[in-house]
């Protein structure tokens, strides 16, 4: 026993201690970020938007989502990550809804692991009357191009400043012209991108976790977003 060098014991113990230190430090950091950005927690966000949380954990932080124990642990076979948040209300005179869905399922095969991911985060405002579908997206963002979601071709709005910064897709020239007037109101969100989707009944601002428009940057101006989106719903649907 005395012939075994001390390093054989010391190094594994040191490595374990270092590992423990980094794990504890990371958890502490996550907790502190969660506190620092508490305005992104579902409960506080709903309050900022003037909505009532109707589904989901009020402590779930949409910016620091790894603070959530399920997200941190990751998915396993037969144990998916499923986070769903829903808040509703009508603080600006039209029905407004915030919805967030993050679900990851894992399936371990013989030679591969398959992850199926569902992600959707949007703030939507209901219009009183049906309107022509449209989509408006920033031409570029620091996080790459925004992916269009509806089968609509681009149409010029008649406002050169808007056409330079946004792609507006619709079939109705009247809708394109209206968006040419309204889109400058969303200037505050231009830094991380604007993605507006009008499906004919409601208008929604669609956000992403790791691409433009980033949830964190967009929801920094949550109050403004709720107001401008409600105004857009009124303009397109009365």
């Amino acid at each position: 026993m005395s012939q075994v060098p001390i390093q054989s014991f010391l190094f594994p113990v040191l490595a374990l201690a270092a590992l423990l230190f980094f794990v504890v430090r990371q958890k502490k950091q996550l907790k502190s970020y969660d506190q620092q950005f508490s305005n992104y927690r579902a409960g506080e966000l709903a309050q900022r938007l003037g909505l009532t949380l109707v589904q989901g954990d009020p402590l779930f932080n949409l910016f620091i989502r790894h603070a959530n124990v399920d997200v941190q642990r990751g998915p396993a076979d037969n144990r998916p990550i499923h986070i769903e948040v829903r808040a509703q209300g009508s603080p600006h005179g039209v029905p407004l809804e915030f919805s967030y869905l993050y679900r990851v399922e894992q399936e371990t095969g013989f030679s591969q692991i398959t992850w199926r991911t569902w992600f959707d985060c949007r703030l939507s405002a209901q219009a009183r009357q049906p309107f022509p579908p449209f989509e408006a997206l920033s031409r570029s963002t620091p996080f790459g191009p925004i992916a269009q979601t509806q089968s609509l071709a681009p149409m010029p709005t008649g406002n050169p400043a808007v056409d330079q910064n946004y792609v507006v897709a619709t079939q109705e020239p009247g809708m394109a012209a209206l968006l040419g007037q309204v889109l400058p109101l969303f200037g505050a969100f231009q830094s991380s991108g604007v993605h507006l989707v009008g499906d004919g009944r409601s208008v929604a601002f669609v956000m992403k976790q790791d691409k433009g428009p980033l949830i964190a940057s967009t929801l920094y101006y949550a109050e403004t977003l709720g107001k401008e989106l409600s105004e857009l719903a009124r303009r397109v649907g009365g």
């Binding site: 089968s151 109705e172 809708m175």
Partner: protein, 181 residues
């Protein structure tokens, strides 16, 4: 009647071209094999190595030929991925590649899946389109795959009101005008 020709597909939304990077390591491996098929015989002519002298020129040519065939085989997939494009229209899409052109109408699409394959060879994004006749198309290595999958995904669902009137909204005569104007 089904939509079968690009003329019926309406206005063009976007064009998604194949990317060079979609070939990944295959470019490197295929390129090395092609290089070996040229450099080997050249070296045998100019300054043969002792191994080449022992093998003889015929065997050197045989080895070079094998490297050439293998290199070309390895490069087939990256070249096919690179030289392709998908034109996306309001009512369908046209997929053009070195092996031909396929036009798929809105009513031929049943569903779509966007799959990211991660391995030691890199990341590859694949779009699997399921058609109503049960066939499956696999499009790999085009730019902006998420947008392509999103829009093709809408083909499998009821059309937007402006494309095919639904209970939601239908185009009024003379065009739409904002309420109150």
């Amino acid at each position: 009647m089904g939509l079968g020709s690009p003329h019926d597909f309406g206005r063009r939304i976007t064009v998604h071209r194949g990317t060079f990077s979609a070939g990944g390591w295959a470019w490197y491996i295929g390129g090395l094999l092609l290089l070996a098929s040229v450099v080997g015989p050249l070296r045998a002519v100019v300054a043969p190595t002792p191994d080449q002298v022992r093998m003889g020129f015929d065997d050197v040519l045989l080895t070079a030929g094998a490297a050439l065939v293998l290199g070309l085989l390895v490069l087939i997939v990256p070249v096919l991925r690179w030289r392709q494009q998908v034109e996306l229209f309001e009512n369908g899409f046209v997929w053009t590649g070195l092996t031909g052109t396929r036009s798929i109408g809105r009513d031929q699409v049943r569903g779509v899946e966007l799959i990211r394959h991660r391995s030691k060879m890199g990341v590859r994004t694949e779009i699997k389109v399921t058609l109503t006749d049960g066939r499956r198309l696999s499009v790999s290595g085009v730019d902006q795959p998420e947008q392509l999958a999103n829009v093709i995904g809408t083909f499998g669902r009821p059309a937007p009101a402006a494309v095919a009137p639904t209970p939601g909204w239908s185009a009024p005569a003379g065009g739409w005008r904002p309420p109150g104007t």
